[in-house]
Symmetry: C2
Subunit: 430 residues, 2 copies
Amino acid sequence: MISRTPTADLAKHVGEHVTIAGWVHRLRTLKSVAFLVVRDRSGLAQVVLTGPDTPRFTAETVVEVRGLVVAGDQAPGGAELVDPAIAVLAEPTGPPPFDLHRPRVTATLPTVLDHAAVALRHPTLRAPFEVNAASTAGFRAALDALGFTEIHTPKIVGTATESGATVFGVDYFGAPAFLAQSPQLFKQTMVGVFERVYEVGPVFRAEPHDTTRHLAQYTSLDAELGFVTDHRDVMAVLRHVVAGMVDAVAEHAAAAVTLLEAELPHVPAEIPAIDFAEAQELLARHTGEDPRGEPDLAPAHERWLSAWAERTHGSEFLFVTGYPLRKRPFYTHPDPLRPEASHSFDLLFRGLELVTGGQRLHRHADYLAALTARGEDLAAHRDHLDMSARGLPPHGGFAIGLERWTARLLGIDNVRRTALFPRDLHRLHP
Amino acid sequence: MISRTPTADLAKHVGEHVTIAGWVHRLRTLKSVAFLVVRDRSGLAQVVLTGPDTPRFTAETVVEVRGLVVAGDQAPGGAELVDPAIAVLAEPTGPPPFDLHRPRVTATLPTVLDHAAVALRHPTLRAPFEVNAASTAGFRAALDALGFTEIHTPKIVGTATESGATVFGVDYFGAPAFLAQSPQLFKQTMVGVFERVYEVGPVFRAEPHDTTRHLAQYTSLDAELGFVTDHRDVMAVLRHVVAGMVDAVAEHAAAAVTLLEAELPHVPAEIPAIDFAEAQELLARHTGEDPRGEPDLAPAHERWLSAWAERTHGSEFLFVTGYPLRKRPFYTHPDPLRPEASHSFDLLFRGLELVTGGQRLHRHADYLAALTARGEDLAAHRDHLDMSARGLPPHGGFAIGLERWTARLLGIDNVRRTALFPRDLHRLHP
């Protein structure tokens, strides 16, 4: 490795000669002195250039700088490099489309995305991806502690089982195939093998929605577990996972949270839960609208319920349970006491649906009945049918969209800012 | 959760009434007694059924059993359940295609794969996936300790940059797109943001090879790091990672390794390395063949070199460095002292190439020159060109194929046994 001192450690080396290496973050040229700010992954360091012919560097030039560390009140971190010898490791062909050293980015989202290779170096644009990494680590650690096994499942599937309209087609050696919308089939199948499994991986939705919360590919944090009594066991695991994710962000990405002036939520020991029908009653009573009879919650109603939970329960999280069975996927377990309702749930966080989950059917006969009742083609569901024919325990699970999670956590308005090189209706590059 | 005692803990509860839950692993009916073996994720427990009309259970029936724990010499783990009350949670439609309770599986690979939903419950068929999970955790832990950041990158790409012949085409909202063969572009780009990144994710190869070591989708463990001196820095990180993976398997999947009668390798503090040209000299001198002039190593030669490394260096791992530049991807860094050779390497393990890596070009002018010299279409490489135009430090990385790794580690002859629901030329289900 290039032997170097992290810029963040400079103040520990006052009086020594050290080498730093990184990118030219900024060059400020005054009359007889110039200040070169070098950025590496640990932070920033100031290099003082004196003499009549201070060199010029394009922003984002990669440099290695050897010099003497001196204490300096004006310098970031309280120390700076003087008397430097500078080697250029690589030069950009031009400056970035906007200044990376300014505290805020005013460039439009298309400009940011078109120039992601350099735009993501801006601390505020990079920060969401530090939170993504910490959240994912927290998700895994929480489930590892509960005896879950990590799996990696196929992303190319032979049948589009959840909804034919929104899948991407793949030419599979001349045969038609599809990109998996979720690892649902596989994680349920693996409950039969490991009882408790999770997967972190890409899922694909060919949704023709050009909104701030839809992506053609996103990262799904999926978990599934067997031997549950009902959906409430799944909700308890999800609560543990969400708490683990928040803790991991606090531990590993605190600087990113601070930089974006976000506030991490408190995850209550028990997240409040409201039944779908009760939620509709509440909305009818308080909002001047009457959603009763609707099979799902409108976004505005999710926001209202979320605010209600915060007001009455002091919780930024709210479970809504018992959604109408007909609006949930075929593998959803009904509520035995109210067969038109389901053992499914959504987790709302700060006004938005963040997680969907529930108890699944586990008996083969129930799968046959559910598919038949919905008029589904049994052949198209042969893998689900085979799985359920093999003896599966009562089970359930959930899926968290990583990009939505981080956007909500950080107060970011568009999931394209929390997805690395997002894919949407119009975007395939970079 | 269904309140239950793990079967592995039964002996700790002698004299108590407990509930266990799991799958009917085996039912052995004698004249006046029957032995029901129940399997859960912790192990096996024997339940003793007496009386004239012992119930019949199909193998893989999901049961919940409450009974009294008694010490029993003949029972697995030294304890068994007597006087049981058995509740059936789910029934399979028939027995598995082969007995899961026999120590070895003699069913053919197609039978195993066609019936994966139940076949994977056999301890020897499940074991590789325990090793996959442990290896992946070890990969991440090793890199986390070195300050790497985890990323998740697009699997749908607008251009097929590495080799047009082996990509899967995707209909992307009516536009042509491809499944990513590797996260190469993205991980290099992210070196500009985080300096050190890794990704665990699926990669896709439409290779028309029907061999024991090719899959249409596999899990790639990718890493990339900046500010390297040359490829040897990358090799040092890879050595650290491989050691971390072996340690993690030893810690978290020891039972799987023992069950498959495999032996974990010792990872030397420094893995021996041989230059490609020297390797060819050695082969010419000792094998009666003369591979000099060939641009790559034949599989038989990899096996010979691997055996040679074990004989002379006592190492099951061997780096081969300095492969001819023309056979490596366009972004490969040449050896400045021998421009026809490259700063690339392969890591051989037990006779097989397991990892490919190297130092990459980092200067924009070098990318332009390399692409032009190869007669490549610059427009097709616009994302790589834009990335390199932004100021990238000297960098390099590697990719480990998870399924090959586990197959080699466990002495498994076909990567279809280490991939969950493998995808190949002929297989899209389950």
